[in-house]
């Protein structure tokens, strides 16, 4: 069994004058039919046409608004949308049309609908047939646009959404059977009471039964109220758990802040030490500036010392020459002659010159020389320390700036939450848990009382049934009543089971699709579908992601996963029509959603702008594309045309 569109024909519909689009049947490999068109060229007009042909209940003005613009002043006009499709093995040709003519300042519209199934004109109950194909409430799961899709990811559904979902799942039909059986039981019991009262027997039993049924009704109400309170308490507890996670994260931030502040204090202490050393270095800087002059003067002093030693030697030589001249004898004992005397006197003169040259007092005492040598040596080694201090101070200042920036950022993020305390949340949690336990005890008590009351009611009923066997009519009624009750019980259990199974199935498919598309597959673990069909994403650690905290793109992915799951849960899944579905999505989400489309196994009509499907992405999904159409604008004639791309 399948559901496939075969062709769509439009006449004077919005931007289109006359257009027919043929759709190929999807095979196992290719199921995507893509329409490319810029904004305003007519993508949404196609979506509206499909919505109109199935469930077009438009008033005169709306119909006029759907009329192709150039036709609006043409007097009598006809607009028509025809969809040919295969459903459950039969070819259906569904046409919805309207003739529109001006009438004074208003318009006369005559709408009509025609359905041909396998060549046979369907004369009546067309709406019932359509409702079986795509129920009105569920068309939102088949024809959807990106701009509206996110409403399914809300914490609470709008009115009618829950009913539409249950309609898709086929739950109302089974529920109706259960309700009908319950009504029948009531009628049979009334009949039974009639027979018994006519016989004037067991009036006390009948009265007792009435009382016990009132009690059961009252207990059922109490049970529902308690259930509601339990749900509210559980919701509040879940919310608190989320808060707890937030506060824990905050507490972690506070701890980080404290660590950073301690580190900052350490750095500042270190900076003080460095600055103190720098002060010392600055005090001794003048000496370091004198290193070179001291070096020079020490060298000169050494040189002077050497000259001084030489002078002492020369003076000794002078003394010897002077002695020889004074004695007139050579050291060998011979007399010196005039020539020798002359030579010695010349020598003495030269020595005097040398002594004079080497003259002048020494500048530095030996102790001063030693002291200056030490100072010179000390300052040379201190130069390296000074350089090191400069780089140390620069490095510690960078660290201080970094930690300071981190601290400011953390303080900013903690602003307004300074008083958040995990212990407050624990207290609230304990309080809620106490209340929940009390409510659960209350619920158990009510259920016990309800069981007792039902047992009593059954006892009375048994007694009444026994009395009924006394007449043939009563006996037959008793058996019917018994069968109906058993059937009702079985159907009630089946409804509960069915609802649960369907919900679990949808939950599984939604989770599978969501996890294949989400850009956080390592963080998210799945999606829960609640009893009211609202959705909740949960993480791998079990915590719930508040719907409000999901990004627009994530909400869209969540909603897409859900409605896809809903459609795939129906007996005959419908083709998907998606109008600009990637509005809020980042590249990862968009690509993964695109990848999921071929796996849906139904015909998919994708109405896309060039931004929705850039060439690279189009090439990637090319193996799955069945057909491609381009919507072109004929501006001269104010109409749009659809050509194969």
């Amino acid at each position: 069994m399948s559901f496939e569109f075969r062709s769509l024909t439009l006449k004077n519909w919005l931007v289109y004058s006359e257009v027919k689009i043929n759709f190929d049947a999807p095979d196992q490999k290719r199921n995507l039919i893509v329409f490319y068109g810029r904004n305003g060229f007519g993508k949404t007009s196609l979506l509206r046409a499909l919505q109109f042909v199935f469930h077009g209940r438009l008033d005169h003005n709306e119909l006029y608004n759907f009329l192709h613009d150039p036709q609006k002043n043409a007097g009598l006009s006809e607009l028509a949308v025809t969809l040919e499709f295969l459903f459950d093995g039969q070819i259906h040709q569904l046409t919805r049309m309207a003739t529109i003519s001006p009438s004074g300042n208003a318009y006369n519209c005559s709408p009509s609908v025609k359905l041909i199934i396998d060549g046979h004109n369907q004369q009546d109950q067309i709406d019932d047939v359509i409702a079986k194909i795509i129920p009105k409430q569920t068309q939102q799961f088949v024809f959807f646009d990106g701009a509206e899709i996110t409403r399914y990811s809300k914490r609470q559904h709008e009115d009618g959404v829950k009913e539409a979902i249950e309609q898709v799942l086929g739950i109302p039909a089974i529920r109706n059977l259960r309700d009908d059986l319950y009504t029948l039981i009531g009628k049979l019991e009334d009949e039974q009471a009639d027979i018994l009262s006519k016989q004037n027997i067991h009036t006390d039993l009948l009265q007792g039964k009435e009382e016990i049924e009132d009690l059961i009704a009252s207990l059922e109400t109490d049970k529902q109220t308690t259930s509601d309170r339990i749900k509210a308490l559980r919701d509040a507890l879940n919310k608190l758990q989320d808060e707890q996670i937030q506060v824990r994260l905050m507490e972690q931030d506070i701890r980080t802040l404290e660590e950073k502040e301690k580190r900052l204090a350490d750095y500042e202490e270190r900076l003080k030490e460095i600055e103190s050393k720098i002060d010392e270095q600055i005090k001794s800087a003048p000496l370091r500036l004198l290193v070179n002059p001291i070096h020079n003067l020490l060298q000169q002093s050494e040189a002077k010392q050497r000259v001084s030693d030489k002078r002492a030697l020369t003076q000794e030589r002078k003394r010897i020459v002077e002695e020889i001249l004074n004695d007139g004898n050579c050291i060998c004992g011979r007399d010196i002659d005039d020539t020798a005397t002359q030579v010695l006197e010349n020598m003495l003169a030269r020595i005097d010159v040398l002594v004079g040259q080497a003259g002048g007092k020494g500048d530095l005492a030996a102790s001063e020389f030693t002291q200056l040598t030490r100072i010179h040596h000390d300052q040379q080694s201190k130069s390296a320390v000074a350089t090191e201090l400069i780089s140390q101070k620069a490095s510690i200042n960078v660290k201080i700036d970094e930690v300071d920036a981190d601290i400011r950022k953390l303080k900013e993020s903690l602003k307004g939450h300074e008083n958040a305390s995990i212990s407050d949340i624990y207290n609230q949690q304990a309080d809620l848990e106490n209340r929940l336990n009390m409510e659960l005890k209350d619920q158990a008590r009510i259920e016990m009382e309800l069981d007792n009351a039902k047992r009593k009611s059954d006892d009375i009923q048994r007694k009444l049934d026994q009395s009924m066997t006394q007449t043939t009519q009563g006996d037959a009624l008793k058996r019917t009543l018994l069968d109906t009750r058993n059937l009702h019980k079985a159907v009630s259990e089946y409804v509960e089971k069915l609802v649960k199974l369907k919900r679990i199935r949808i939950e599984e498919i939604t989770t599978e699709i969501f996890l294949s598309i989400t850009n956080k597959p390592d963080e998210y673990a799945g999606v829960t579908v609640e009893a009211d069909y609202t959705l909740q994403v949960y993480r791998k650690d079990g915590s719930i992601v508040e719907n409000e905290k999901l990004s627009s793109g994530e909400k869209e992915v969540l909603a897409y996963s859900f409605i896809t799951a809903l459609n795939l849960s129906t007996e005959i899944p419908a083709p998907f029509v998606m109008d600009t579905p990637f509005g809020h999505l980042d590249a990862t989400h968009r690509n993964q959603l695109l990848d999921s489309l071929p796996r849906l196994g139904v015909q998919v009509l994708l109405l896309a702008t060039d931004r929705d499907l850039p060439p690279v992405e189009r090439d990637r999904i090319e193996p799955f594309i069945l057909q491609e159409y381009e919507i072109i604008r004929d501006q001269k004639n104010a109409r749009s045309i659809i050509n194969p791309a």
Binding site: I278, D279, Q281, I282, K283, A285, P286, L287, R288, L289, L290, V291, N292, P293, I294, N296, L297, Q300, D363, L364, A365, E368, Q371, L372, I375, D378, Q379, K382, S383, A384, A386, T387, L389, I390, K393
Partner: protein, 132 residues
């Protein structure tokens, strides 16, 4: 070598008092006398010309200066006098004047060098000078 008289006081020129106060108040240089010795070292390293007209403003006594700085300053001043051909320093008074005049020449140059610079920048400059 001639040594300074312990009871004599070093001096700077009056026009430098404001700068010396500012730089010591900020904590850039601990004391005014440290600035004086920095100026002395800077002037020697850059062979700056000595000032001719100075209105003296007295600083601390020679006795308060640490021995290493004092000895190095006395020795280098006398060496420098010969280097720039001022001749031999005659006595303690002449040595005091020479040291202070060299210091003043240096402080004036530093005042110009450190114009528009903050404390850290000046300190980095001072520490860097020693390793030039």
């Amino acid at each position: 070598m001639i040594h300074l008289e312990p009871n004599d006081r070093l001096f700077i020129s009056e026009d430098l008092i404001g700068f010396a106060d500012e730089i010591t108040k900020q904590g850039t240089v601990p004391r005014r006398i440290d600035l004086m010795f920095l100026g002395f070292g800077y002037a020697i390293a850059n062979k700056l010309a000595l000032p001719t007209d100075v209105k003296k403003h007295q600083l601390i006594q020679v006795a308060a200066i640490d021995k290493d700085t004092l000895l190095a300053t006395e020795a280098v001043a006398q060496w420098y006098a010969k280097e720039i051909e001022l001749g031999e320093v005659k006595d303690e008074k002449a040595l005091l004047d020479l040291i202070c005049f060299i210091g003043i020449a240096g402080i004036r140059a530093l005042q110009d060098r450190w114009k528009n610079k903050g404390k850290s920048q000046i300190q980095f400059d001072i520490l860097g000078m020693g390793v030039e």
